[in-house]
């Protein structure tokens, strides 16, 4: 697959003198390949007339298992997670390291992306209102998966000679299995994951983001950018290039600071829109619950809605993909399990709060006017729902989508880079090659249509869930032991609370 993408990148770079049909050409090339990859990864079994992709079942069972095995840590650990983020347990005598808040904010910046705006619309379009219910359930269970993977990420990270750190699933699989006397298997799994996150970074964390940012910009521009995807793509790629290769940190820093405010701004106006549609709220909520169990009008009924909901939830909050554990591994803490607690807030913020709000914006608009969005899907549909009530909102939404997309791309460029350096070492030359490939894909993302992009993106992301969850099953007992010991020390007062 890497070879294929390499060839595709080369093709893209060679044919840069663009012409009117360039976007179309790219589309024609990618569409059949996308569907081939998609049908391989999403191999379906038939359950009550609905096709259930095995990989989704794999994730759901994993999340369910970790939720039970960790004693519903997603509920019992919630309060402690908030205390940790607030800094209640931070040692006042050694400040200056990455705080729990910072680790969480960075990881959330990476996950809150286009998926929260556009992905939910896709879920509701295909899976009906009921998909929202399963989306929330998936977010809830995903909290436990994150807990496990982020604890492991910190526990088994590498400290590089220059004092920086590298962590993530490839490292916990390699070292964790080694500890259990399965070194060879661990090495294989680590490598498999590293290859996967590298390729996945080009999909979910790259092409999908730039594509949807372009779509929203075009919508706001009233279609003036039709066929100009290559141009928007090149501009976006140039900015990403400036940050990750040019080292212009100020752009990244500004983005990282603006994104949280954009998220709050987005949620605020989303709630305003929901309140403006207040007469539709009961019906919209009713649809979510009835749709969840009847699946009326959805292919595959309730199971169909469930599948779509779960699929979109993972796509948005990344639980089970292992990407967040790469971000969390940067925290220096004597207790890896504290990072696990903090990370369980991510699916909560990302899926249970932000995605649900988006779903309600769309849901209440649908109740009020079933055809409010016309043929629009993805971000354009969400934008139309906002526009119904606040006519000027698509403009800031486009800006927000662009920023979300950008910050997600920056985060994912790092995740992919860690996969790359795991495979090829920390050498500068190799890192630059990786970053160039990444930029090329940013441009490519704007040149293809949503359908094939989503297929490739989904497929690649779900592919790395397979080794990651498998690794988590093997290593979960270690996390459980750490959690029990940590809780005991917390109860005995051995772990001090500094802020009361």
């Amino acid at each position: 697959m890497t070879k294929f993408f390499g060839a595709l990148t080369a093709l893209l770079l060679l044919s840069l003198p663009a012409h009117a049909g360039f976007d179309e050409t790219i589309n024609e090339i990618t569409a059949p390949i996308a569907s081939a990859i998609g049908s391989f990864v999403f191999f379906k079994i038939n359950v009550f007339g609905a096709g259930l992709p095995l990989v989704v079942l794999w994730l759901v069972i994993g999340a369910l298992f970790f939720t039970c095995y960790m004693g519903f840590v997603n509920v019992s650990g919630f309060k402690h997670a908030v205390q940790l983020v607030r800094g209640d347990y931070a040692d006042p005598d050694s400040p200056g390291e990455v705080s729990h808040f910072q680790a969480l904010a960075t990881a959330v910046s990476g996950t809150v992306g286009i998926g929260n705006i556009g992905g939910v619309a896709v879920a509701v379009t295909i899976g009906g209102a009921g998909a929202t219910f399963w989306l929330i359930v998936a977010g809830f269970l995903g909290m436990s998966t994150k807990f496990v993977e982020c604890t492991l990420g910190v526990k088994y990270r590498n400290e590089n000679l220059d004092g920086s750190v590298s962590g993530g699933p490839m490292y916990y699989m390699k070292k964790g299995f080694e500890e259990r006397g399965m070194g060879g298997f661990g090495k294989f799994m680590g490598t498999f994951y590293a290859v996967g996150i590298f390729i996945g970074a080009l999909g979910i964390g790259n092409m999908f983001q730039s594509n949807q940012a372009y779509v929203q910009l075009n919508t706001v521009a009233g279609g003036a950018l039709d066929g100009m995807g290559w141009l928007v793509g090149l501009i976006l790629a140039a900015v990403v290039f400036a940050v990750i290769i040019g080292g212009i940190k100020s752009i990244a820093r500004v983005t990282e600071k603006v994104v949280p405010f954009m998220a709050i701004f987005y949620c605020f106006f989303a709630i305003v829109v929901i309140l403006m549609n207040f007469t539709s709220i009961p019906a919209a909520i009713g649809n979510i619950f009835s749709g969840a169990f009847t699946g009326a009008g959805v292919q595959g009924g309730a199971i169909g809605a469930l599948i779509i909901g779960f699929q979109r939830a993972v796509f948005s909050n990344e639980a089970g993909i292992g990407s967040a554990s790469i971000a969390h591994a940067a925290v220096r803490t004597p207790e890896p399990v504290t990072e696990g607690y903090v990370s369980l807030l991510e699916p909560f913020i990302d899926t249970i709060v932000i995605c649900t709000i988006t779903a309600l914006v769309i849901g209440t608009s649908q109740v009020a006017d079933p055809n409010f969005a016309g043929d629009a899907t993805g971000v354009a549909m969400t934008s139309a729902a906002f526009e119904r009530q606040i006519s000027w909102f698509p403009l800031p939404l486009a800006f927000g989508a662009l920023l979300f997309a950008f910050s997600t791309m920056i985060s994912w460029s790092y995740y992919g880079l860690k996969g790359w350096t795991y495979l090829f070492g920390e050498g500068q030359m190799g890192q630059t090659i990786y970053k160039l490939i990444f930029c090329a894909f940013v441009a490519l993302g704007c040149m293809v249509q949503l359908g094939p992009i989503l297929d490739i993106s989904d497929a690649l992301v779900f592919l790395i869930c397979v080794p990651n969850i498998l690794g988590l099953y093997f290593l979960a007992p270690i996390v459980r032991r750490e959690m029990i010991s940590y809780k005991a020390r917390l109860a005995s007062g051995e772990i001090k609370k500094y802020n009361h």
Binding site: Q102, S164, V165
Partner: protein, 144 residues
């Protein structure tokens, strides 16, 4: 409360003036000096993953720079005066951190230099001196 004074240095002229004042005061009253450098830092900032991964390295560098560049030269001066002293380098929000340290060491007084910011700048960003004056539990001397 012990006969001690916390003095904030930061490598600036204001910091140097504060140190000189504190040395005079210590010599006269036989007080112990806590020579402090606060490296401005907030646990609530937003970083990129790369910044987080390099944070530990940066922190060490910041502490090293503050120690060898500012705190050690200050300590040499103080030692030359024959004054008892301790040095502290700490990350945190400046005013809040100075207060915490003042409480920890039980000092009688905090001495800081004035940065001499323009009206608008200090209006927008506040100044360490005025924050400290507003919230400190012990007397604060602001050296102009």
């Amino acid at each position: 409360m012990t006969n001690s004074v916390l003095v904030a240095v930061d490598g600036s002229d204001g910091g140097a003036r504060a140190l000189n004042y504190a040395r005079e005061r210590a010599k006269l009253g036989g007080a112990k000096l806590i020579v402090t450098y606060v490296i401005e830092w907030s646990p609530y900032s937003f970083n990129t993953p790369e910044e987080n991964a390099e944070r530990h390295k940066r922190r060490e560098e910041e502490i090293e720079r503050a120690t060898s560049g500012v705190v050690e030269p200050a300590a040499t001066l103080v030692a030359g005066d024959g004054i008892q002293f301790e040095t502290v380098v700490r990350h945190g929000p400046p005013a809040e951190t100075l207060i915490k340290l003042a409480e920890k060491y039980g000092v009688q007084q905090i001495v800081i230099g004035r940065r001499g910011q323009s009206g608008i700048k200090s209006l927008l960003f506040g100044s360490v001196a005025s924050n400290l004056v507003q919230t400190s539990p012990v007397p604060v001397v602001v050296v102009p």
